[in-house]
């Protein structure tokens, strides 16, 4: 772990994003804080963000990873939109993860779209931190 992190020039930058109209921000805030405590640079978008706002934030902040937290049931509408907007801007090196109440059948569909992992209720923060760290570092090394 240590050897890997010293090889990275800067802190991992993560945008924690809340698309949709629901106000369930408990999980997003816990994850934001856990990532920050793990030494990452965290940009939390706040609630009720449109896919456009999220893509724009990710690009402006030069994010290594985006953690989308969604519990409104609109994930199959909003996540593809975010993916599409990022692709249209030529962003193909961001690690995209989704967390929330996502039924099993939608998890595969989201992964097929390019979502690296979907974290459902009961996931531990350590699991999420480790996934983002190794995912981003893996990509950095690959480049």
């Amino acid at each position: 772990m240590e050897a890997a992190s010293t090889s990275v020039k800067r802190k991992i930058r993560v945008v924690v994003a809340k698309p949709g109209l629901d106000g369930h921000d408990r999980g997003a805030k816990i994850i934001a804080r856990a990532l920050r405590d793990a030494g990452m640079e965290v940009i939390y978008t706040g609630l009720h963000q449109t896919p456009e706002q999220i893509a724009e934030t990710a690009i402006q902040e030069d994010a290594d990873a985006i953690g989308i937290s969604i519990l409104s049931g609109a994930h199959m509408t909003l996540v593809p939109k975010i993916v599409e907007l990022l692709e249209a801007q030529g962003v193909d090196d961001v690690l995209l993860t989704v967390g929330g109440t996502i039924p099993k059948r939608d998890i595969e569909r989201l992964k097929n779209l390019g979502v690296a992992e979907v974290f459902t209720p009961g996931s531990s923060t350590d699991e999420i931190v480790d996934f983002i760290r190794s995912g981003v570092e893996g990509r950095t090394r690959a480049i």
């Binding site: 109209l21 965290v42 009720h48 209720p121």
Partner: protein
């Protein structure tokens, strides 16, 4: 389900007991014994823990300070209302679910609206895309509301509506559905949430800045005081505060403080406290820490009674008597091994009943995965019916009154609440504390601590960080994505059929009243009658008041 392993575990337990008997009392385990809110709990409690004069503090059920319950006869006189929260998809589907629940012995209705409705967006708004009918039912206009309550006599049921920022618009729709059924406003019974303060704190479904929202809620209180004596215009809600991660003490303190703030605003408006306070009701969470929850309800009643009497000058006992709805904790449900949730919900429901609730929603076991199926909802309702009809707990009033432990916990929660009241007052009151993100920060801190404890296995949740096994799949309710188009189509039809001139005039009048400082409920009802949409009314008020943007803290 696995009889062999169950009986094996039973045998092992019996052996352990026998061994303990042989070697004397086993030493207590070395761990921190705390409630789920982190409150230290001692091994035993006794008479020395009952502080103060029990006659004053605990008293009699139905008498000040109501610690033992709001009514003398409690469930012998009237059982709690079994009120399952329902709403999904289209108004037709939800109407069907209402009829299903009533047929199965439910005694009151409770409506869940979808996210766009909660945020004041119509179904055809760009922000509503993918959200229509997902987490509740979509209601845009009076036409929708008529279908939602089709075939349900509004003078015979009581209805609860979970809506806050646009509560005035939905209440207007309901009043007009009553009117079309020939039921006058004074004969409509029910509750509408309308607790905006907890939205800025926890639920986060807002439309307006804090001050105009406070004015709107006071307008509703005034309207209901004058026109709807059987209606509860605000349900002061701790539920969402708790779900956002608050401790039991925080839920208690922030909810009551919000309540006092509404009381202060109504008194400032010149409304007699005894004219509106009896129509205020509460909505609490019931989490899994059994005794702490029961103590929370008892402390809430005592604090409310004392403050209404001593601080706000209420004279009538009805004004001091806190009554509440309970919902079992959605956040305690696990996506893993979902059938276990039936057990959690039963324990939480029992805490609500032993705490003296007036109405109860029991969550369905599949709700950590999706909106509930019909079968899951039926089991949840049956859970309440089993408590009522089989367990005997309703036979006597406040069976835990006088318990050394429960009374001590009640005192401790009360002291915690007063400590928070003091800190909030130091910040300049609740509205100011909310602006400064104080309750938001406290809740965020508690939520983070709880999650760390779970990650470190200092706290255990069966199926999540203990006793895990390969998952069983349960059938889930899937919302048909086509319903969004159907709802948008209906809205389009309403807009084509109504008189645009009437709508425009109604919106102009609404804005004028909003600017002039009059009671906005009346022009909202007139606009609703002209089939102005919820979103159009909210938009008109946003033109006058602006919107709200949170500065998030984590």
């Amino acid at each position: 389900m696995e009889p062999t392993s169950t009986s094996a575990a039973g045998d092992a337990g019996a052996n352990a007991e026998a061994e303990a008997a042989d070697t004397g009392t086993p030493p207590a385990a070395e761990k921190n014994f705390t409630t789920m809110s982190g409150r230290p709990v001692r091994a035993k409690y006794g008479p020395d823990d009952l502080k103060g004069d029990p006659a004053d503090k605990i008293g009699e059920p139905g008498q000040y300070p109501f610690t033992r319950g709001p009514y003398e006869s409690m469930y012998r006189g009237r059982n709690w209302t079994m009120r399952q929260f329902a709403g999904f998809g289209t108004v037709e589907e939800t109407n069907e679910r209402f009829h299903y629940l009533l047929e199965h012995g439910q005694t009151g209705l409770s409506t869940a609206f979808d996210m766009p409705t909660l945020m004041g967006y119509d179904s055809d708004h760009a922000r509503s895309l993918g959200e229509v009918g997902r987490e509740g039912v979509a209601v845009d206009t009076l036409d929708d509301m008529e279908i939602l309550f089709g075939g349900i006599p509004l003078d015979k049921v009581s209805t609860s509506m979970t809506i806050n920022a646009p509560a005035a618009m939905l209440l207007a729709f309901y009043v007009l559905v009553g009117e079309r059924q020939g039921v006058r406003p004074e004969n409509l019974a029910g509750t509408i949430l309308t607790d905006f303060l907890k939205d800025y704190i926890a639920q986060k479904e807002w439309c307006f800045p804090v001050e105009p929202a406070m004015r709107l809620v006071t307008d509703m209180v005034e309207y209901c005081t004058d026109n709807m004596p059987r209606w509860h215009p605000i349900s002061i809600s701790g539920y969402h505060i708790r779900e956002a991660g608050a401790t039991a003490s925080q839920e208690l303190a922030f909810t009551l403080k919000n309540g006092f703030t509404y009381v202060e605003r109504a008194i400032e408006r010149g409304i007699d406290v005894d004219a509106f306070a009896p129509r205020l009701s509460f909505f609490f969470n019931s989490h899994i820490d059994f005794f702490e929850e029961i103590a929370k309800y008892r402390a809430a009643r005592r604090i409310w009674a004392r403050e209404l009497k001593e601080t706000y000058g209420a004279k009538k006992p009805e004004s001091m008597r806190l009554r509440f709805h309970t919902q079992t904790a959605g956040v305690s449900l696990t996506a893993q091994q979902p059938l276990n949730n039936i057990v959690r919900t039963a324990i939480e429901a029992l805490a609500g009943v032993l705490g003296g609730t007036q109405s109860l929603h029991t969550n369905s076991f599949d709700e950590a995965l999706a909106l509930p199926t019909e079968e899951a909802v039926r089991v949840a309702l049956r859970t309440q019916q089993i408590i009522k009809e089989e367990t005997g707990v309703t036979n006597t009033v406040d069976p835990l009154g006088g318990s050394y432990f429960v009374e001590s916990l009640t005192d401790e929660l009360e002291a915690d609440a007063y400590d928070y009241f003091r800190r909030i007052d130091e910040l300049g009151g609740m509205v100011e504390a909310v602006r400064q993100n104080f309750p938001q920060r406290e809740i965020g801190e508690a939520a983070f601590t709880f999650q760390r404890e779970l990650d470190d296995k200092e706290r255990l949740i069966v199926g999540v960080n203990s006793h895990r096994h390969e998952e069983e799949e349960v059938p889930l309710l899937h919302i048909d994505p086509a319903l969004e188009a159907k709802q948008v189509e209906r809205l389009k039809k309403t807009k084509e059929e109504r008189s645009q001139a009437e709508v425009d005039a109604a919106l102009t009048e609404l804005k004028k009243v909003a600017e002039d400082g009059g009671n906005m409920m009346y022009p909202i009802i007139e606009a609703a009658r002209a089939r102005t949409t919820e979103g159009e009314m909210v938009g008109a008020l946003q033109d006058v008041f602006g919107t709200y943007t949170e500065t998030p803290v984590f």
